[in-house]
């Protein structure tokens, strides 16, 4: 009896697969080739002393690479110290750039949504930073954060009296980290804004009208209709932004290279330099996987916490 139901289920499953396979096949094959396979190979690499020379023997080293990540964490200058320093910077980036982008993006989106005219012009203007090529963007950031009093940022801040002296932004730990966060927020909030405006359009107008009849004010409507109405959008954004903050790379790679003394480094840049400057592919792979594990746990937590399941 059971057997039969299994075989029936099996047959049904096959039928369903036959229906879906024409749509699913190409994407899945490409995905396996270029995303899944490299990542599985990554796991293998992380257990070896990997050499990229074709035909080279890759010595299996067990957990040695992982052990390195957790040894001498507090000894200044050790490998682990720099990894966790970079990790700390990623966490800080999440804590600062994600709320920064979400709040700024949401506020601007709500502002724009309620405008009577000129909506599109603001959307376009605020989206330019998002569209801009990352390399170009970093060059501009480098340019406006030059350390002399003639650079755009120092000039403005000194002339309105916020700063007394020009600051060497990219050369001090916290100012350089600030610039890195600033990059993320400046370049990211336009995207958040666009997604939120799309989300705002999905909230039925009658809810607002009903609330108005009940005598709700703007702030109340924002908290009790807009924010809950955007829950799914916020979840989508949150996952993406956290991912983005965990994957911060190019601004560090082009602007600070982790200086001074690795205090502005992030994990992606750390992994990159370990692999391609130091040739420590095994260690770099294990660092990347530890990072991936953390992001995974974080996302699962968020998913559970925000109760956003695919099949509710």
């Amino acid at each position: 009896m059971r057997e039969q139901s299994f075989s029936r289920r099996f047959k049904k499953g096959i039928r369903e697969w036959i229906l879906v396979i024409p749509f699913l096949l190409i994407g899945t094959v490409l995905f396996i080739l270029f995303v899944l396979y490299p990542q599985i190979k990554n796991i293998y690499i992380s257990f070896t002393n990997y050499s990229i020379m074709p035909g080279a023997k890759n010595e299996f080293v067990g957990l040695a690479n992982y052990r390195k990540i957790f040894t001498d964490i507090h000894v200044k200058g050790s490998d682990a110290y720099f990894f966790w320093m970079a990790f700390r910077n990623n966490i800080l980036a999440i804590l600062i750039t994600v709320p920064g982008q979400l709040i700024l993006g949401l506020l601007v989106a709500v502002f724009i949504h309620n405008l009577r005219f000129g909506k599109n012009i603001y959307k376009i203007l605020l989206y330019i930073a998002v569209i801009c090529d990352w390399v170009v963007f970093c060059n501009i950031v480098d340019y406006i954060f030059q350390p002399d009093n003639g650079s755009l940022v120092n000039y403005i801040l000194t002339s309105i009296g916020i700063l007394k002296q020009p600051v060497s932004w990219l050369k001090n730990t916290w100012t350089a980290n600030f610039v890195i966060w600033f990059c993320s927020i400046w370049k990211g909030f336009g995207w958040v804004m666009i997604i939120y405006t799309a989300g705002l359009q999905g909230i039925p107008m009658d809810r607002y009208e009903a609330a108005k009849v009940d005598g709700a004010n703007n702030v109340q409507m924002f908290w009790y209709i807009t924010v809950p109405g955007l829950k799914a959008t916020t979840f989508y954004l949150l996952i993406n932004l956290i991912n983005g903050a965990m994957n911060i790379f190019i601004q560090v790679f082009l602007l600070t290279k982790g200086d001074p003394i690795g205090t502005t480094d992030v994990v992606m840049d750390y992994v990159y330099r370990r692999a391609f400057n130091y040739f420590e592919f095994g260690y770099a792979a294990s660092c990347g996987l530890v990072m991936g594990g953390v992001v995974f746990i974080l996302s699962m937590f968020l998913k559970k916490y925000l109760r956003y399941g695919q099949d509710e």
Binding site: S51, I52, P54, Q146, P147, D148, S168, G262
Partner: protein, 444 residues
């Protein structure tokens, strides 16, 4: 439509090449490798130039990676390669200019797929690393290397040496030398460049506000080497096997202490730690007396600005007027399928013709061939004589496969001294211990 036309042209080309290739290989077959003389007598089209070696292989395309600047690239693509292809019609050069950021990653992925370049001009510090990895072809036994060896400056040549073999040819060399601000010299009443650091430091009281004497561009082992070495500091022993007792030796600690003191007193300017004015603007605006600059500095800005500075030898410290040796080497990757042709081109790049062209033209690259460097034509290139003179006191950057890591450790040590996060004695001691471990690893 256009694509079709292109395709047919390509097809014709391929066909002709194949025919041509067949023809020449059939004449070649059966002949021994040493038959180049006979080949010439046969009236084959491959004629060896007066200074190069002969090429009897098949039609080949050599992929050549480089990171030349605009001006340097122009010399390469408009003079050197056309001349080469004229002399060796069977070899085609596909010169690819690579961006400097992320270059190592490009090399690595290329090697891993066995599709790297055939020949590459790379920073001298990378040669030992890649040699250790096994990616490079040793050149010791290649035709003409032994004869060429004696014609080259020893310092640049040594940068190709790793574990008993040479893995490349020094294409061009360079070093940091002095670039002096004319305005500050005049203000301080200097007729000549000061000969020693003592003389420089003595000028301190004559400075105005916001003026400094020395512009060193950052606490990394490259920019700081001329200062650190001249004041008696060293990174390792002479065999590059040990840093303890050298980097944290008395002389090195004293040199570092002096540097920190000078930085605190405003003798060394704020650009040491990324502050403004940067070295170039500081020189133009009369805020720095001199800076450590490479030959490329003079191609870097308008003539009007360059006229405000003058090249002159660096002052001497207790250890003399030392500087650091930089430059680029030519290496052949052992995954290459056209090593012979790549070697022919490498040799041509080392010839008097190419060496002179790149020294006199656009980038003013400093030649590595003694006779070329001494020729009148090259000597007349602006400031070439100064760099050649300064090079006599050039210390090579530690030629070790772990340079990249070592350099990072040194930067950390220097930075923490300048920021007063650590004392020179303890910072250098710590770095020395770490570098010892790295150097030991490198020998494995």
């Amino acid at each position: 439509m256009k694509k079709k036309v292109l395709a047919s042209i390509m097809a014709t080309l391929v066909a002709t090449t194949a025919l041509f290739g067949c023809g020449s290989s059939s004449t070649d077959s059966g002949k021994s490798e040493t038959s180049s003389l006979q080949e010439k007598a046969d009236g084959e089209d491959q004629k060896a130039s007066e200074e190069g070696i002969a090429y009897n292989g098949e039609e080949a395309t050599v992929t050549y990676w480089h990171t030349h600047s605009d001006a340097e690239e122009e010399v390469l693509t408009e003079q050197i390669i056309p001349e080469f292809e004229k002399r060796y019609p069977k070899i085609h050069i596909d010169a690819v200019r690579m961006p400097y950021d992320g270059l190592m990653q490009q090399i690595i992925t290329g090697i891993s797929g066995n599709t790297g370049p055939d020949l590459m001009r790379m920073d001298i510090i990378w040669v030992p690393e890649l040699a250790k990895m096994g990616a490079l072809e040793p050149v010791d036994d290649l035709e003409g290397f032994k004869e060429m060896k004696d014609k080259l400056f020893e310092g640049p040549l040594k940068t190709n040496y790793y574990n008993g073999k040479y893995y490349g040819l020094p294409l061009n060399t360079n070093c940091l030398s002095g670039t002096w601000s004319k305005a500050v010299m005049e203000q301080l009443g200097l007729k000549d460049f000061p000969k020693t650091y003592d003389e420089v430091v003595a000028l301190k009281d004559k400075l105005n506000k916001d003026q400094y004497l020395i512009a060193c561009e950052g606490p990394n082992p490259w920019s700081m080497a001329p200062l650190f070495n001249s004041l008696g500091g060293v990174y390792t022993n002479e065999d590059y096997t040990k840093a303890s007792g050298y980097l944290d030796g008395e002389a090195s600690i004293k040199a570092m202490e002096t540097i920190v003191k000078w930085y605190d007193e405003g003798i060394i300017g704020p650009c040491m730690n990324g502050g403004k004015p940067d070295a170039a603007n500081g020189l133009y605006d009369g805020q720095y007396l001199f800076s450590y600059q490479g030959p490329w500095f003079y191609a870097n800005d308008d003539e009007e600005q360059i006229a405000k500075v003058e090249g002159g030898l660096l002052p001497a410290g207790s250890a003399g007027s030392l500087t650091v040796n930089g430059g680029e080497d030519l290496v052949i990757f052992n995954g290459s399928k056209v090593k012979d042709a790549a070697w022919v081109f490498a040799q041509f790049l080392m010839s008097d013709y190419a060496q002179t062209a790149q020294a006199v033209g656009g980038g003013h690259l400093v030649p590595t061939v003694k006779s070329v460097a001494e020729s009148e034509e090259v000597k007349n290139t602006p400031y070439m004589d100064i760099y050649l003179k300064q090079l006599e006191g050039a210390v090579p950057r530690t030629p070790t496969p772990v340079w990249e890591k070592m350099s990072d450790k040194l930067t950390v040590a220097f930075t923490s001294c300048l920021l007063h996060e650590d004392e020179p004695a303890s910072a250098l001691k710590k770095a020395a211990t770490e570098i010892d471990a790295l150097l030991q690893d490198a020998d494995k």
